[in-house]
């Protein structure tokens, strides 16, 4: 149970990031450590200047999905970024940017939101992951 939960975030749409943030918060609530590894389009969403921007939804959301997501947000649902901040506040959540994706996107570490703890390679992520499951979103 104390093996960490390890999430690889690849998709950068708000719905998938929200789902990942909620999974993270649940594990943090139980005292289970969480390692989050940001790759590709998910990493792009963690830029400081656009973390609170609209990152769109997965294609399967469609128009009805967009309406439903907007309604929940308007009703006061916390953003995924806020949910991750809360999860970090109550538990052990380490968020690392994939160094290869940093190069791919041409991002400097200073451009990332402070919610990101650092930049590392895939090997360091696997070492942190230990024998815990790795979930790819």
């Amino acid at each position: 149970m104390d093996e960490p939960l390890n999430l690889v975030l690849f998709s950068g749409t708000d719905d998938k990031l929200q789902a990942a943030a909620i999974l993270t918060a649940g594990a943090a609530a139980l005292g289970r450590p969480v390692n989050v590894f940001l790759q590709y389009w998910a990493l792009d969403a963690f830029r400081a200047d656009r973390i609170d921007a609209d990152h769109g939804l997965a294609p399967e959301a469609g128009t009805a999905g967009r309406t439903a997501v907007d309604a929940l947000r308007k009703a006061g649902q916390a953003s995924w970024a806020e949910t991750l901040r809360q999860a970090k506040d109550i538990g052990s959540v380490d968020i690392q940017a994939c160094s290869l994706s940093m190069d791919l996107l041409g991002i400097d570490e200073t451009a990332l939101d402070p919610i990101v703890d650092g930049v590392e390679g895939v090997t360091a992520f696997h070492i942190s992951a230990g024998n815990g499951q790795i979930v790819f979103i």
Binding site: I22, A25, G26, A29, L30, G31, L72, A75, G76, Q77, A78, T83, Q86, A87, D89, I90
Partner: protein, 86 residues
Amino acid sequence: MIETAATTAGTAITRTIDARGSYCPGPLMELIRAIREGQVGDVLAVRSTDGGSRVDIPKWIEKAGHRLVALETRDGFDEIVVEKVR
């Protein structure tokens, strides 16, 4: 919002967390924060309109080693009362 009140069972509540309008897992996270800030023996009530709370919060209370004092369904929301044991 923090207020002082008493349950219908008569247990003195140290603090009430009004998490109504907050979505899963917001109410639990607010409760965890309040428990961390409180003292052993404190009795905390959390109010939630999120349907998951009445399932999740008692399970969390058991796992975290605290004591579920009451789970009441009120007018449009649930109130879960917990004693901080450790």
